[in-house]
Symmetry: C2
Subunit: 271 residues, 2 copies
């Protein structure tokens, strides 16, 4: 199924009870359906969001693809994978993805500005003048300014988190204070139009939260069922609150150098 | 951090108590550490797995990236993103990824053969002679034959699930019977060396299960903490057992055509 076919299929299915409003004879959308569904309030099945997802070398690909799993299911929305150029971008584990827009071609007024995290690649992006200028510019007007994992360091370095509650990967959440943010320990943190997710896989919870915010709860629940997001982790070590010491200790050690570098970045920004 | 740097960092951190065994003066691995850790049994921090992850046009990118999130963290393993050619492959939501190996250059003897799912692209891959021949050939010798979501239809079409319990996306799990498999309703299903995951996001639970299988539980728990896999879905509609009717009905309708095509494929295979 092409993306257009898929979106038409979703639209046809979701809007079946609403056909007179939503679908023309040829299956084309004739006007935006906006109506009352029983028990679900005001529903917008079709939207026109402009969503920009930043990409940079060394990004953690799951930080990007978790949210994309749900944001990519928004009918009518345009999702741009944005980088400095259209050259393919390689993640920290060697996954190479082709951007669909550049800092220049990305729409100026965005519904959602998003950035994934990573380790050294994230710190490099956070201090890169072009990347910072792009984030600051689009972030100044975007309806929602968002991140997952250490992507919030990029938001912070671009001056987008001053006075906002925000979260990050557990290892660098405290670093956000250096950017004037209020580090907050939760899976997804919302403060006005800033919505940030915790580490890596929190992008799924973030993505579903965004879909409900941009559309409505039923739409988000449909996406949840389609992606069978009914997690059953085989172990219970996904949080610093639950992992045993023999897991926490080596992971803290492993990230020591990265955390120091992030602290230095925040101190330089503050200084 | 490059991938090699990251792996060295993980190795250095994880193996700190075991330095005489694992690390040479220059930080290079000098022999495979294999030893007894208190309370954790026999631990292999370094491995040499050869993991092939199939890519094809129209794949669901989260089916691939969920497992990759954890399989990509196996120190010493080689993870190949395999397609017909090295031309970039575009997913069902327009994400374009560059393969790292072809059917010809992919190692002949694999530790793990994996395929993601999707909808029409998956059915096309399942009947494609080259793809089927590749999967049947590598699957005949791979230590583990695996999938997530409707990727199990590709395994089935390649004759790799006859007599095995297996799962799939909820919409097409029953179709597996047409390939001689035993459809089984669980997040991750193991039958001998066949390990299959349910729909899309089940790839995370599948990936962690594989890491524990290939290495050990502590290693998997370290990966879980690093990826902060402590899911908190904001809604409870990720399963056909929990989603309300107003969510289930449109999603079943949306997938009707795909399910029919999958049933036709399985019937043709059986006939």
């Amino acid at each position: 199924m092409t993306e257009i076919d898929r979106r038409k299929a979703i639209l046809l299915a979701l809007s079946a009870p609403l056909a007179p409003y939503a679908i023309g004879a040829a299956g084309e959308q004739t006007k935006e359906p906006q109506h009352k569904m029983p028990n679900t309030g005001s529903v917008h099945w079709m939207g026109d969001e402009q969503i920009a997802m930043l990409m940079y070398p060394g990004m953690t690909v799951m930080d990007l693809m978790g949210p994309h799993c749900f944001l990519g299911a928004l009918m009518g929305a345009k999702v741009f994978l944005v980088a400095k150029s259209l050259d393919p971008v390689t993640s920290d584990t060697g996954v190479t993805i082709t951007p669909t827009a550049t800092f220049k071609t990305c729409p100026s007024d965005l519904t959602v500005l998003f950035t994934p995290g990573g380790t050294d690649g994230t710190l490099a992006a956070a201090v890169d003048p072009e990347t910072r200028a792009f984030m600051a510019d689009r972030g100044a007007r975007a309806k929602y300014v968002t991140s997952v994992c250490s992507g919030s360091l990029i938001l912070g370095a671009a001056g987008l988190l001053k006075g906002y509650k925000a979260t990050s990967h557990w290892s660098v959440r405290h670093v956000l204070a250096g950017f004037g943010a209020i580090p907050t320990d939760a899976r997804v943190v919302r403060d006005r139009n800033r919505i940030t997710g915790a580490g890596v896989t929190a992008g799924l919870d973030f993505g579903l939260t965004m879909v409900a915010e941009l559309r409505d709860r039923i739409y988000a629940e449909c996406c949840q069922l389609m992606s069978e997001y009914d997690p059953h982790p085989p172990f219970n070590s996904g949080s610093m609150k639950t992992a045993p010491p023999e897991v926490k200790t080596p992971m803290i050690e492993m990230l020591t150098e990265f955390v120091k570098k992030a602290e230095t970045l925040a101190a330089a920004k503050r200084g």
